[in-house]
Symmetry: C2
Subunit: 241 residues, 2 copies
């Protein structure tokens, strides 16, 4: 879209930044830095700065000295934990049913290019499925390296945990980030999760990396809120006795 | 309330269990076991079983062999992490404003008696406050041991992180559980958080324990959903190099 628009360069940059923000950028990580954006659009740093300043003046972004630009009116509360998650048996409690809606290789969308540090146009493995545990549905979208598609056959996806399959395929998860926020059900959520539009939805985003720091599993799960679904984690700094 | 009701014993037990469920019991942990409830009401185990079976038949609870009875149609997805959370600087990013609404010693409500493993009628320190970070509000309710009230003066509560104050008072957090779910704003949420009733709300519950396993900080935070607030955690099993 950006390339099609006429008008001053700062407007193109402003539009580009607004598009990035709409895909979720500028919350966990800063928006792209001014010099990078100036280089991308082939303009002076002054022109790029003008675009950022217009978004600051409009109350869309805030600039944090030494860190970068973020969406305003958003608060990310992030708790760092040094430790090992125990994925064994995770999501295995109760009767789990997977329905795979699609599993294939696609061109990575812009937000995945950013999260997985890919080049524009690079391919990834995408999985879309519904999951039902104890009668509670979730909508899962997962992105993995393109090579995963050849290593994990579609039949396995329906019956086994993705974390177990990835581990067996040589992708062991060593670090990661999980983010959670609350939203209202879109018409699509409502249809697929069996709730009314506007019903509260818990959205979980994950970025899991292997020991080399490569993103091997990135995605989103949407769950019905209210009394249906709770996400929890336990931590323990004590030596188990 | 339970004591006032006439009718067969199984009805009193059924009513008692429904009341427990309404306060959030039966999700993370099982409902009280049949023999305990039979003893509490001074009835036979058969009578207690009848009450549980009626709730199973009504689709309110499910019984998990060897684990206990849980609310049905609810899914708790819990990720265990062996490690140390780094609370230093947590919730300190951005401009934090606390407004203390109440801070005092109260009789522990039923769900806190359960979570903090107290005796009925035992006293606890309760804090109710609003917190604002980067323009995003939260409603916090916190329960701590009664002795905390004498150790942490009210003036400090307005200006410092509760985790830092507890640590300085000798309550070092060693393990804990965090649970998150999505709800709709009640009229009270709406008024205090500045959103419309029905707006999505992220609720976070926490149970933090010291090295001896005593619950030292238990409570709930409610945040506006949508684009306003994200809760995240990062884990890292690798040795930092």
């Amino acid at each position: 879209m950006t390339g099609k628009k006429a008008g001053p360069a700062y407007q193109k940059i402003e539009c580009y930044l607004r598009e990035l923000i709409q895909t979720g950028a500028g919350r966990s990580e800063p928006l792209p830095a001014e010099p990078d954006v100036a280089a991308r659009f082939g303009v002076s740093r002054m022109t790029a700065r003008h675009a950022y300043q217009r978004l600051v003046n409009a109350g869309v972004i805030v600039r944090k000295r030494g860190v970068g630009s973020f969406v305003s009116g958003h608060y990310l509360e992030r708790l760092p934990i040094s430790g090992t998650p125990d994925f064994s048996g995770w999501t295995e409690g109760g009767a789990v049913h997977f329905v795979v809606e699609s599993y294939g290789i696609v061109k990575a969308p812009a937000n995945i290019v950013r999260l997985m540090k890919l080049k524009t146009g690079e391919k990834v493995t995408r999985l879309q499925r519904t999951r039902s545990v104890n009668g509670v549905m979730s909508l899962d979208t997962r992105y993995m390296p393109a090579s995963v598609h050849g290593l994990i056959p579609p039949a396995d996806i329906e019956h086994k945990s993705l974390l177990v399959l990835l581990k067996n395929a040589g992708f062991d998860i060593a670090s990661g980030e999980v983010e959670l926020d609350a939203h209202s059900a879109t018409p699509q959520d409502a249809r697929k999760l069996g709730v009314l539009p506007g019903h509260p939805i818990l959205q979980r985003r994950l970025v899991y990396r292997d020991a080399q720091g490569r993103e091997v599993l990135v995605g989103t799960s949407r769950y019905p809120g209210g009394q249906a679904y709770t996400f929890g984690f336990q931590f323990d700094a004590r030596t188990i006795t």
